[in-house]
């Protein structure tokens, strides 16, 4: 019994923010994370994964944060070598599937920050889904060049299984 608890504790510690899951209805938002935003007045970016455990697709239609005057979904598009960031109105979370916001793809842009996002802090982010409604998650702020959740002071990059 104590071995099981020890294993559980180790798994939790190894996973870092393994507990960073937020559920609402059929949706599970996993590991919301952001990059520290370095320069005052610049926007910040947040990433996360949404898993849909239900039978019907849902759509992420709005994002908001008390730290940002404006928040919007954006997508980085790489067309013939040119990088463009375009606003997107909604993102589908397929039934039985997942929506991943990650570097180089779709992301949350947080603009009009009163103060930069600092490494190590957590920031509230409210996601609005067409079916599931609103869910507020805690976004963990990592290093300016972080490539995934869990990259912050004192922690190296999380091992990648793929």
């Amino acid at each position: 019994m104590s071995l099981a608890i020890l294993c559980g504790a180790l798994a939790f510690a190894a996973g870092g923010s393994a507990a960073a899951e937020f559920r609402k209805g059929d949706l599970v938002v996993e590991h919301p994370w952001a990059r520290a935003s370095i320069v005052p007045g610049r926007p910040a970016v947040a990433y996360l994964t949404v898993r849909n455990t239900g039978d019907a697709p849902d759509r992420l239609v709005a994002v908001a944060s008390p730290r940002a005057a404006r928040a919007h979904l954006h997508e980085t598009r790489h067309e013939g070598g040119v990088m463009r960031m375009v606003p997107v109105e909604a993102l589908t979370v397929p039934a039985g599937g997942a929506l991943a916001l990650a570097p180089g793809g779709t992301h949350v842009m947080l603009m009009g920050l009163a103060r930069p996002l600092a490494e190590g802090e957590t920031v509230p982010l409210t996601l609005t889904f067409e079916r599931a409604g609103e869910i507020t998650v805690e976004v963990v702020v990592g290093k300016p060049g972080a490539m995934g959740a869990g990259e912050r002071k004192g922690m190296g990059p999380m091992p990648h299984g793929h």
């Binding site: 320069v39 610049r42 926007p43 070598g81 960031m85 992301h107 300016p144 060049g145």
Partner: protein, 209 residues
Amino acid sequence: MRLSKPVLFVLGVVLSVAVAWALVALVRDMGAGPGGRPAVVTTGTAEIGGPFTLTDHTGKRVTDKDFHGRFALVFFGFTYCPDVCPTELQTIARALDLLGEDAAKVTPVFITVDPARDDPETMARYVRAFHPRMVGLTGSPEEIAAAAKAYKVYYRAGKPSAPGANDYLVDHTSFIYLMGPDGAFRALYRAGTGPEALAAGIRAQIGAE
């Protein structure tokens, strides 16, 4: 255990198909076939690069010659860009880490395509978040345009969200350029190349010096 002839035959076919599949994939990844896109593109001619005069993040005026004597990894971006630019600058920083002692032979350089917002102080804050030796370069719009032209960099500022807002984004090509100690172009790497491939490319160039 002896395998019967039909089983051997089937195994032979499976093995041949597997080998053929691997060869096709390998050739495709080398860019030899349609749809193949190599991570590294090298050109035989020194069309990329050239003279520039810019202002570094300490406010000092520098030219391209100030970077001769070492390799340089050059990336054009802007500090208002929170997705692609930090990723590529982190790739550069991490590639230098992977080079170990050879990292001292390479200068990481970040040139802004948004000189209106990216002044030297802003560039200083930005580059030190990625690497202690990263140099940030800015200048007048004309000076930046000249540097971008030399590197065949396309960039275009978009519209702000509202009149008077200062939140426009800049579309831009996003290659990492490896320049030699003689200032000549050596190789370019697409965004998304990743630190390991970038370090391997640099190592090969250093080794060939």
